[in-house]
């Protein structure tokens, strides 16, 4: 039984609600179990990641650290592993932000394929001001907002409003009626062919760190896989029938 998150499936949409406001190892375990289910059994095409009680997620739970105990890096590694796993799920991943997304919560928003926000949503990378690092947001953020903005967001730790986050490209739409905005975003993703979505996302995520000579080989390998899947075969069949 989940204690830190809530999981439900409705039609082709799965919803993960972060019930606990701060990330602890139990949340990492529960998210891992949900990812197992989503990879192995679920027919869902969309995963919605949302908070509760007027916030998305307020970051890591410092209560799990003890000043008199040796510092443990492995918990951070587990967090990065689950973040990367959510990022690579063979579904469309949409984060819904309402209220603060801080620290690890802000990091989590960056792994989504799209971010929908209410006007009172905020994003803040507060880690550096607290003496540690904002996880692999150091890797992901600059690709989304550019290095200049990434330095500002991570080193000056401003509270970024939903509107500013939209201008920066972190948030895709802002609306007081977030459920309608979410439904429109899901619609915009179209049929969501798992293989095409997963491969397109992987190539995009690799784009800044791969040389063209390697990227072209990667693309051809991925394209060859895509064009042998049912959706593309149906596309050309439909085209012929017309």
């Amino acid at each position: 039984m989940n204690q830190t998150i809530q999981y439900e499936e409705n039609g082709h949409i799965a919803r993960i609600t972060l019930v606990r406001s701060r990330i602890n190892m139990e949340m990492v375990r529960e998210l891992t179990a949900v990812c197992d289910h989503l990879e192995d059994n679920s027919k869902c095409k969309v995963v919605v990641l949302q908070g509760a009680d007027g916030r998305f997620c307020e970051g890591i739970d410092f209560a799990e650290f003890k000043p008199d105990q040796p510092m443990d890096i492995h918990g951070f590694n587990k967090w990065e592993k689950i973040s990367a796993r959510i990022e690579r799920l063979p579904k469309a991943i949409i984060a819904v932000l309402d209220g603060p997304a801080k620290g690890g919560g802000a990091q989590l928003a960056l792994v989504a394929d799209a971010v929908v926000a209410t006007p009172n949503a905020t994003i803040q990378f507060d880690e550096v001001h607290l003496g540690f690092l904002p996880g692999m947001a150091t890797f992901r953020l600059a690709k989304i907002v550019g290095l200049g903005h990434a330095k500002r967001l991570i080193m000056q730790s401003p509270v970024v409003t939903a509107t500013e986050a939209q201008q920066l490209g972190i948030v895709s739409s802002v609306s007081a009626d977030v459920e309608t905005a979410l439904a429109e975003t899901i619609d915009a993703f179209g049929p969501i062919h798992n293989v095409a979505v997963t491969l397109a996302r992987r190539l995009l995520n690799e784009s800044f760190s791969t040389e063209f000579e390697n990227a072209i080989g990667n693309f051809l390998a991925a394209q060859h896989r895509a064009i042998h899947q049912t959706p593309f075969l149906e596309t050309i069949k439909k085209h012929q029938d017309e």
């Binding site: 197992d36 990879e39 192995d40 796993r85 997963t198 491969l199 992987r202 000579e213 080989g217 990667n218 051809l220 390998a221 991925a222 060859h224 896989r225 042998h228």
Partner: protein
């Protein structure tokens, strides 16, 4: 109580002393065809160990089929001697301790085979059991490992050695054509020896070989093959340009089969030990079975430093993985080799 699944106790490798960059080879053989030249530079190979004679009176190295077969025989013995010594010495063993010998080669035909030659010259016992796997190509390392592992399971406590011996420079045909250019830009010479034994469980970092799963694609029978070319008076290797894609699209089938039979998911696999078939082959495998650049780091490195070493390539990658120190007890790995047939062979390891 002896655990039947055999352990991989050690691996030794050897390469001939001379190493050539791609540019060295282009110069040496005076390759002018721009398409062939670009194949060499786009191969993602920095250098390869090869056995190449001095240029003849025409200014280019030349060997007839007889010389190539002689080279294969001579260098198989030299490389195998070094690789076997490196595999056995750390175990405090010699060739006299080996009860079963399996030799793999596709780069030269001989009769009697490599096992007989190694017994004559390298000190193996005359009652050593033998198998020669000849002409199965780059995938053959796992085709040989399967019976070797089965022999170990049936004969617990006894020692089996498998030797993959490929003198790829003994199948080179040099002209200015694209067909030979593909082959000449890719393959390197090297030998790997691996020691197996079924023994009681111990707290160490040697993996057990749990299972094998094969897959052949009969429709692609001719995609990789030896042809006799009368104009050259030699065998030459033909490699279809679609090979990487064909292998990629079928890669999931044996991987899924292997994992499902053992109740595992892809995420349960910590280490991927994949044949260094070529850059495009590695890319195709990566995107079709959804593994990362990190997962293929040793495969890519072996390709970069040695080229495609044929049947022993995956053992070079395995050796690098073990030397890296990232393996932990309980980890699982998949070995995967691809080659003519067209064939994809897989094996499951458990540390």
């Amino acid at each position: 109580m002896i655990e039947p699944h055999p352990k991989i106790l050690s691996v030794g490798t050897a390469n001939p002393p001379d190493r050539y960059t791609q540019e060295d080879i282009l110069k040496l053989f005076r390759v002018s065809n721009p398409t062939v030249r670009s194949m060499f530079s786009a191969s993602h190979i920095e250098g390869r160990h090869l056995v190449i004679p001095e240029p003849d009176e025409n200014g280019v190295p030349h060997e007839n089929q007889e010389a190539l077969l002689r080279k294969h025989r001579k260098w198989s013995l030299r490389l195998a001697q070094e690789a076997i010594e490196k595999a056995l010495a750390p175990q405090g063993m010699t060739t006299a301790d080996i009860d079963y010998l399996c030799c793999i080669t596709s780069t030269g035909f001989m009769l009697p085979g490599l096992t007989a030659m190694f017994i004559k010259h390298l000190g193996f016992r005359v009652d050593c059991h033998r198998t020669d796997v000849v002409g199965m190509g780059c995938n053959a390392g796992l085709n040989g490992l399967n019976p070797t592992a089965n022999w170990c399971a049936a004969n617990p406590g006894r020692n089996a050695l498998m030797v993959c011996c490929e003198v790829n420079s003994a199948l080179y045909v040099y002209d200015d054509e694209i067909t030979t250019g593909v082959v000449n830009s890719l393959f390197g010479d090297g030998c790997a020896a691996v020691l197996l034994r079924s023994e009681p469980p111990e707290e160490d970092l040697t993996p057990r070989i749990i299972d094998f799963y094969s897959h052949i694609i009969p429709d692609e029978w001719g995609a990789m093959r030896y042809d006799w070319t009368t104009s050259h008076g030699k065998f030459s290797f033909y490699l279809d340009r679609d090979v990487p894609y064909v292998l990629g699209i079928h890669a999931e089938t044996p991987v899924n089969g292997l994992l499902e039979r053992n109740g595992l998911k892809r995420r349960d696999i910590d280490h991927w030990i994949i044949h260094s078939g070529g850059k495009k082959v590695i890319d195709a495998i990566k995107y079709n079975i959804g593994i990362s650049e990190y997962d293929v780091r040793h495969t890519v490195n072996v390709l970069r430093h040695f080229g495609n070493l044929g049947s022993g390539s995956f053992l070079f990658s395995y050796k690098r993985l073990m030397e890296e120190g990232t393996v932990r007890r309980g980890d699982r790995g998949v070995m995967m080799t691809m080659g003519p047939g067209s064939t994809i062979e897989t094996a499951l390891l458990h540390w």
